[in-house]
Structure formats: structure tokens, C-alpha cells
């Protein structure tokens, strides 16, 4: 697949002296859904804003569809759709007017049918003559998405599209993203909802303090870092781990009531059986047991935490 977004050695130091991006290098393939995760202030919005021409980079280069965003900005920007994090709309315009306006701004000839289709796909058709200020927050967000899609972009940036959005709209949004992907649109989204990245993304990037600390295919990431936990609720608390069980990676909680076994999902399953047999032989009995799989969120929190510890 071809690279549609190529970011090389991109840095940004704001006038305040704050470095929001250390050199970031990232290549996004055409047609993929890429989720950018990171805590508040990590630099996600800064990165997106530079690609879209809203923030000037301090160093580095960005190309979109092979066009340099500063030298060939016209060609590059025509390919990009942006839904920014902050709600910003022209309150007194109607939904229809603001959407056709956006299409024109991006150099597209008028196309009523296309605008209609876009509005319909976002359930905005009934509201087409409503002034934006009369819409609810969620509806306004739909309007912003319509504005970003109406000029038929090939690369779509969704900066926290589901922040403060109800379940229904979030589901709609996911459906829309899948539809767009069917059409070959590349989507880069930032989110704080890990399940969103888990659900949607092909690849995940984690950014922390302006550094891209990890870029991985989601499944690989889950497999590589994903661990399962087997938790046993003991009948009688243990004061310490029996030496006979040292070959397993075990942990006891403070009360000695819960015994936790962490194992790699790739490890052989009879390991668990062996552990249970070992417990049996030692006469340790348990009332209940269950397993948990670590989610992307656990991975993410671990990653960021370990980074912060090293920093």
C-alpha cells in the first residue's frame, strides 16, 4: 500500500518556549484507520494542526498524497478533511449554507446531490434549514463532521470526535468511519476512549510528552503486550508465596486472599493446569477463579507510566 501521509522529523516549539513535539516520524498508509492515543497535552492536536496548516512547524517535513504541506499546500490541503477538537461553528448560518460553504472553500464545484448525501449520512438532512446556534452540541459536532466530509477528502482527521458525545452518536460515528474506510478514505483519529481505538483502528500510535513512543498494528500490540491474569480467591489467606510455586509469576494481594497469576496469552495453556495441580498438592483451596485479558487501556497506562517513571 502507498504512504498517504508522511511525517518526518517534525518538531514544534511554541512561542512560549514549550516543546510540544520532539522529532516525530510517522508514515500512514492509504486507507488505514490510525488511532493516536496519548494523555492530555501529549501533542496530538499540535501534530494534526501542523499537517492541516493551522500551526507552523519548527522543523521537519510533512507530505500528504506526496504533496509537501508547505510548498504544495494547495494540493495537499485539498486532500484533507479536519474535524477539530473544539466546537467552532458559525452560529447564525444554516446547516445547509455552512456545509456548501465548506465545499466551496476547498475548491470543489457546487454539487447539491453530494451535499445532500453527506447531510443525510449524518442525520442532518431534517435540520438543513436550521440555524446552527439552535442545534444541540452533538448536532453541532455532526455539522462539523459534515463540513469536513463535504469536499470529499482522501485523508480525514478526527480530533477526539466522540468527546462529550452520546452513545448513539458515537455508534453512528463508528459506522460512518467504517463506511469511509470502504471508500478508501484514510482516517487518523485521536481519542481518550481506548475502546474506540480497540474497536476501530488498524494501527495505534501512542504519543506522550511530544514523543511518539509506540506505533504498532493493533492486533500485534494486543498480542505482544496483552497479558492475561488468572485470579484465584483463596479460602484461607496466605502470608507468603510458597517456594514450591516460584516457577510461576504469582502475586498476592495485601490480605493474602487473592492470588494472581499473570501469563502471556501465547504461553502454553497446560501451565495453568500445572499451577492448579501445584496448589492442590500444597492443599491451597480456592472459592472462585476468573481470568482477565488486559485491554489496550491497561497497555497504554502501563506504557505511559513506565515512561514517566524513566523521565
Amino acid at each position: 500500500m502507498a504512504t498517504v501521509l508522511d511525517i518526518r522529523g517534525l518538531t514544534k516549539t511554541y512561542a512560549s518556549g514549550l516543546t510540544a513535539l520532539k522529532p516525530v516520524t510517522l508514515a500512514i498508509e492509504e486507507g488505514e484507520i490510525f488511532a493516536l492515543l496519548g494523555p492530555n497535552g501529549a501533542g496530538k492536536t499540535t501534530l494534526i494542526s501542523i499537517v492541516c496548516g493551522i500551526v507552523t512547524p519548527s522543523a521537519g517535513s510533512v507530505t500528504v498524497g506526496g504533496f509537501d504541506v508547505s510548498r504544495d499546500y494547495r494540493a495537499a490541503r485539498a486532500l484533507i478533511g479536519l474535524v477539530p477538537q473544539e466546537l467552532a461553528t458559525d452560529s447564525y448560518e444554516t446547516v445547509w449554507a455552512t456545509t456548501t460553504h465548506s465545499r466551496g472553500l476547498f475548491g470543489r464545484p457546487p454539487d447539491r446531490a453530494y451535499v445532500e448525501r453527506t447531510l443525510r449520512s449524518l442525520s442532518l438532512w431534517d435540520k438543513r434549514d436550521a440555524r446552527i446556534r439552535t442545534l444541540s452540541g452533538g448536532m453541532k459536532r455532526r455539522v462539523m463532521i459534515a463540513k469536513a466530509l463535504v469536499h470529499e477528502p482522501r485523508v480525514l482527521f478526527l480530533d477526539e470526535p466522540t468527546a462529550g458525545v452520546d452513545v448513539e452518536l458515537r455508534r453512528d460515528m463508528w459506522a460512518l468511519v467504517r463506511e469511509l474506510r470502504e471508500d478508501g478514505v484514510t482516517i487518523i483519529l485521536t481519542t481518550h476512549y481506548i475502546e474506540e481505538a480497540e474497536e476501530m483502528a488498524d494501527r495505534v500510535g501512542v504519543i506522550s510528552r511530544g514523543e511518539l513512543i509506540l506505533v504498532e498494528e493493533k492486533h500485534t500490540l494486543m498480542r505482544k503486550l496483552g497479558q492475561k491474569h488468572l485470579v484465584l480467591h483463596l479460602h484461607a489467606p496466605l502470608t507468603e508465596l510458597p517456594a514450591a510455586l516460584s516457577r510461576w509469576d504469582l502475586a498476592l494481594d495485601a490480605d493474602g486472599q487473592l492470588l494472581e497469576y499473570r501469563f502471556d496469552t501465547r504461553a502454553e495453556h497446560n501451565d495453568i493446569a500445572a499451577l492448579l495441580r501445584g496448589l492442590d498438592e500444597l492443599g491451597i483451596t480456592y472459592a472462585d477463579l476468573h481470568t482477565e485479558q488486559s485491554s489496550l487501556e491497561d497497555i497504554f497506562v502501563d506504557l505511559v507510566a513506565s515512561r514517566e517513571a524513566h523521565a
Binding site: T100, H101, S102
Partner: protein, 259 residues
């Protein structure tokens, strides 16, 4: 890749239409207010005072003040329209779309300043038509009249554009028109010929840029001005060039547009 034109005329047209639409929505403010104000000026200055005034430079006072009044309205409206037009998206945050659109700085300025200039020209002509209801008027150099009107409108719309980008708050947006432009306009010979001032003040008046604008514009009506028409023309053109330079610099440096 999709065909990317050398000139984004759809984009320019979109902004122009958007801005003109905003005017229509606020028609009362944009057009009615200046027209009413001007009519009041005529009632007060033209009729009440003018009746007691001798001719100025051989022109009846009521007619004499027409070019000045038009200039006054065009200057202030150009400034406030153009500055507001670009300040508003900065204020509401919708400027993100403008900055991320495939538009060159020239196209952005063309669209915004073009729309603001259109409004100013319409306003100027509307005031002229209103004035005709009060006083009989003949225009000696109609083409020059339009040229002066256009040049002034473009220059002050550009200046307004710069002001709107510079302003970081509503107070700042009001500050320049209130504290700088309004006094300059009132002291700019709109209601009198600077020849009527004492000699010292005549010299001071020559440092007032508005004097040159009003004088040139008045020349196009009555074939007479306070200063030579060439000087007026050179002045307006010079001011236009300075505004263009400021706009060019703003886009080059991203000043107060991009962080």
C-alpha cells in the same frame, strides 16, 4: 490526484458570498444606520447651519459637505466591516477552516477585502443618492469620483483586515476606529475647507492623511480641492501600498494567524 486549480475561484466565491450574506442578515446595521446618520448630518449641518453659511469656495455649503460625509462613512464602515469580518472567525474559532483550506493568502485577502469593498462602495453610492434628496449636486469628474471611492474603500478595507488580525479583543477592535480614525475624519475637512482654518492649523491639517482623501474626492465633485488632486491621488495610492505590504507581511510571518 484530483485536479487542483491554480486559482481557487470556488473558495474565493464561497467567502465572498458568505460575507455578503452576513451583510444581508445585518442589513439594518450595515446599510440603514449609516444612511440615517448621514441624513441627520444633512438636517443639522446642511439645513440648520448651512442656511446661515456663505458658500465655501463658491459651492453651496449643503453640497460642499457631501463628499466629506461620504468619505467619513466609507472610511469608518470599511474599517469596521473588514476588521470585524476577519476578527469574528478568530474569535469564534472557525478560522481553523480558513487556515486549513487550499487558499493562498492572496485569495483570502481578495475575498474578504473584495466583499468589504463591495459593501463600502454600495454604501457610498447610497449616501450619495440620499444626499441628492437634500441638495442638488453635479459631479464634475464621475470616473475620478468612482476611482477615489474605490481606492479609498480598498485601502481602508485592507487596513481593517490588518486591524482585525492584530486585535486580540473587542476593545482593541474598537480602539483604532474610535481613537484614531474618527478624530482624523472629523478634523479632516469633511465639514469645512481647511482654508477656513487659521494658518497654523492649516499646517497641522496637512499632516492629517484624511485631508488628502477628502480633498481629492471633493475635487472630483467640484473640480476644487484643498490640495492638488495629484497629491491626493499619490497619497491614497501610497496608503494602499502600505496596507498591501502589511498584509503581505502578516501572511508571510503567520502573525497572529498561526501559532
Amino acid at each position: 490526484m484530483n485536479g487542483v486549480a491554480r486559482f481557487n475561484h470556488h473558495g474565493v466565491w464561497a467567502i465572498y458570498k458568505f460575507e455578503m450574506g452576513r451583510t444581508l442578515r445585518t442589513l439594518l446595521q450595515s446599510i440603514a444606520t449609516p444612511v440615517i446618520t448621514t441624513s441627520l448630518y444633512f438636517v443639522v449641518f446642511g439645513s440648520a447651519i448651512g442656511g446661515r453659511m456663505a458658500n465655501v469656495d463658491g459651492v453651496p455649503y449643503g453640497a460642499f459637505i457631501v463628499p466629506g460625509l461620504i468619505m467619513l462613512a466609507v472610511l469608518t464602515e470599511s474599517l469596521s466591516n473588514a476588521s470585524f469580518a476577519i476578527y469574528l472567525p478568530k474569535f469564534t474559532g472557525t478560522i481553523y477552516e480558513l487556515l486549513s483550506a487550499p487558499l493562498s493568502p492572496f485569495e483570502i485577502v481578495l475575498a474578504y477585502v473584495g466583499a468589504a469593498t463591495t459593501k463600502s462602495l454600495l454604501l457610498g453610492l447610497l449616501i450619495l443618492a440620499t444626499a441628492r434628496l437634500f441638495v442638488p449636486l453635479e459631479i464634475a469628474h464621475p470616473v475620478w469620483m468612482l476611482a477615489f471611492l474605490l481606492l479609498t474603500a480598498v485601502a481602508f478595507c485592507l487596513f481593517g483586515f490588518v486591524l482585525g488580525i492584530w486585535a486580540n479583543g473587542w476593545e482593541q477592535l474598537q480602539f483604532v476606529p474610535m481613537l484614531v480614525i474618527t478624530p482624523l475624519t472629523f478634523l479632516g475637512g469633511s465639514f469645512y475647507s481647511i482654508n477656513m482654518l487659521p494658518p497654523t492649523w492649516q499646517t497641522v491639517a496637512l499632516f492629517n492623511p484624511v485631508v488628502y482623501l477628502v480633498s481629492g474626492f471633493r475635487w472630483s465633485f467640484f473640480d476644487k480641492g484643498d490640495v492638488a488632486v495629484g497629491v491626493s491621488l499619490a497619497f491614497v495610492s501610497g496608503f494602499l501600498a502600505v496596507c498591501l505590504l502589511m498584509v503581505w507581511w502578516i501572511f508571510r510571518s503567520g502573525y497572529r494567524l498561526k501559532t
